[in-house]
Symmetry: C2
Subunit: 511 residues, 2 copies
Amino acid sequence: MSVRRGRRGRAEAEANGPKRQVDYHNLTSPFPTMNVFTEDRIEAMHAAALSILEDQGIKVLLPEARQLFKAGGAKVDETSEMVFIGREIVEAALTSAPKRVDIKAAVATRDVSLSLGRFVFQPGAGCPHATDRIRGRRPGSARDYRELVQMSQHFDVIHMIPPLVEPQDVPMNLRHYELMKTQLIHSDKVPFVFSRGTPQVMDSFEMLKDFRGLSEDEFRGASHCYTIINTNSPRVIDVPMAQGLIDFARAGQASIVTPFTLMGAMAPITVAGAITLSHAEAMAGIALTQLANPGAPVLYGTFTSNVDMKSGAPAFGTPEHFKASLAAGQLARKIGLPWRCATGSAANTNDAQAANETQFALWGCLLAGASVIIHSAGWLEGGLTNSYEKFITDVEVLQMVAEMCRETMAGDAEIALDALIEVGPGGHFFGAAHTMQRYETEFYQPFSSDWSNFGTWTERGSQSADERATGLWQKIVNQARPAPHVDAARVEAMDSFIDRRTGEGGAAPES
Amino acid sequence: MSVRRGRRGRAEAEANGPKRQVDYHNLTSPFPTMNVFTEDRIEAMHAAALSILEDQGIKVLLPEARQLFKAGGAKVDETSEMVFIGREIVEAALTSAPKRVDIKAAVATRDVSLSLGRFVFQPGAGCPHATDRIRGRRPGSARDYRELVQMSQHFDVIHMIPPLVEPQDVPMNLRHYELMKTQLIHSDKVPFVFSRGTPQVMDSFEMLKDFRGLSEDEFRGASHCYTIINTNSPRVIDVPMAQGLIDFARAGQASIVTPFTLMGAMAPITVAGAITLSHAEAMAGIALTQLANPGAPVLYGTFTSNVDMKSGAPAFGTPEHFKASLAAGQLARKIGLPWRCATGSAANTNDAQAANETQFALWGCLLAGASVIIHSAGWLEGGLTNSYEKFITDVEVLQMVAEMCRETMAGDAEIALDALIEVGPGGHFFGAAHTMQRYETEFYQPFSSDWSNFGTWTERGSQSADERATGLWQKIVNQARPAPHVDAARVEAMDSFIDRRTGEGGAAPES
């Protein structure tokens, strides 16, 4: 029988044949972009945002930032700390900001290039807690952070390391050492630096430069790390955020300006209103980077979802979240900058709701044409927890999305008229030559999904995707080793630096 | 405080104010369509499909169907039962097939209109088993079928009733009475009729006409029900399927021709090859309907996914499934017919995998521009089981998709410059007039998702989405009543008909 022949042939080929090669690193979007508003409405939102910045102003808590705005031509009221940013300042900033932001990793194959039409994934970030099925939900620790960095390193479809979890067992004045050291040792991907004041930022830059063996010029000549700047909506840029924008811009490092505007809470209840506010704040942040250093790498960003109006609880992966992403994408295309968008879920466990909300919002980001899609793995409880198991089940979806970026051929060989003639009515293609040549490489192979039938699945213990994910992350974490580029002498030098700085008291965050 | 004022104001408005109105019935797609192949490759696939039909032929097991093909100009070999369908026959059929198929329900508000650019949802269909958390997995019964019809009736976002589950406790010769009676009594939506031979089909038409009070002319003058025709890939149309195509076409009732082509099994392993085969078979089926009755309502369809090449197990919600849907959508747009596409999952329980696969494939259908999206709620184990709980969690996603079809405004009122001025830096919008006017109506309200925080969720028993869904379907089923249009005299007449036909031995299915 041809099935048997096919199976035997396959066993042989498995030993010798070609294996499936995947490249989830350089993803160009195959997805069409979707608009939620007409172009004239986008123009109206942009105009409203410009008028807010010019006429209503934005509160900037850092004197140095107000000085920069003032020197750039903005009207500044030092008493109220309000800055009124004329549209010519914003327009100049949008012109000087680069349309493509490249960030160097430890190795060239991990570099990322951010521009409209391409996208990268970041896992869930900013979580005070971590959770998994073995140890339960707990305040994030250095160990959790390290393990989540190791998991981020493991999957090629994760392109940048965000602040996955807060290592709350490390004092705030020393935490930035732990974060940078862990990223540098356990990952060769693009690292993240918190903007919690100049001293911490400078320490982090120093560690990165030394570990990568970069001269000051080499470091400043390209981005080697990134930060995320959340404005305090509505219309406040606080001290560490403003300082971060300035420090990163002056050092030529990338910042992502991301207002976090929850519709009905810190922003108007309408998508159009919330995104207009978000747009104004993002442009203010971008303007500050360009005043500090024209041409500095900066990304536009948004994180706009809605709250439950009964309880005030934030929600994610909602239709309104999706529409807000689309609106932000339209504005990003208008100004031409690469931009960050976010998925997310308010679910409390890695169940169908969690999967559905995260994937729904993910499609919002994809159809919005986002360049950086954050919180795309592990993020639960509206970001209060990073779930190891959800990290696994979400990465499966990210890999499926990445598969959509692979070109699919429809040449004569793929249309397969020969095979269609070879296999007659009522036959099957298991043993066809056309199948045999491709059966190992044609299809995506999931790593966490279980396609076995109900009987087999039951015999194996009726495990849910959440339960199966536990063994998968445990294996990744247990087998993780320092990234291949890690040099013992450099680690030693880094440890000495940390020891010295710790002895000096570290660097307290600014607020 | 304005939050308090806001909350009090809300309590008052809750008693008197406008409630959120939703219409999930008439859905025009807001989504862009996505191509997987270039237009010239689609032309090449279409040409290959035409040449297969013309030169390789398709096996048609029903003599009457071969006669129709022969009378229409096809070359027929009676010994091999092969029919060679010239391209002019196919082209004539694609011309005479209507570009819009309207199907009447019990009430006009439930009618469906199927054409490119619009879409309807059907829940999971064809499942031999049903499952829920209370009664476990079991062979489908009449009770399961009734309950799933009641659930389909309950949600406006479900537009047509498919064969949700096989009521295996009803003998095959009587099952069609049970199916039609249950649909007519418990739903006012568009009903489904199995094509299991002319006697069953005619019985079903009779019941439908009598119950709806339609004259023969009224019945034949419009579609009042539909059937789904699966070819036996590769290249066989069996007796009941061919008979169904003829019977439905002659009666002016809608059929959906859906080859079920699993890549690497009953179809070539490549997307292009599998969809070329599916396209050829669908066009053969469409041609038969038009030969039987030019202008008869017929939908193009596809259900193409891949198998796990290690085990042969079917998989759904894969990247290849997604790409196949896109390719079929391109061909559907080429021929201009409304068409059916399918989502699905191979998961064995309503977990993150099940949610992710179903939603991933759903986006494939949406971006492919499908007119009918089947298996969009409840379908587990690659269709072997219909899950009550998954029905609930999937409908939440369908409602969120339907919300995307609602126009979102970005007029001056929504851009909300006034509110943006009213709420100063660091303030919030909870109590703003702009919020107060809209807080009850602006956002989608989920019915199964839980947005409470971790503490509250834990106090309430840490229920997963799957667990919460149990109470939701139980309430729906317990509160379900016969559809409002049901008339006691008509039910009595239907019972008499069924009694009489049962006494006559019913109607055995043909094979």
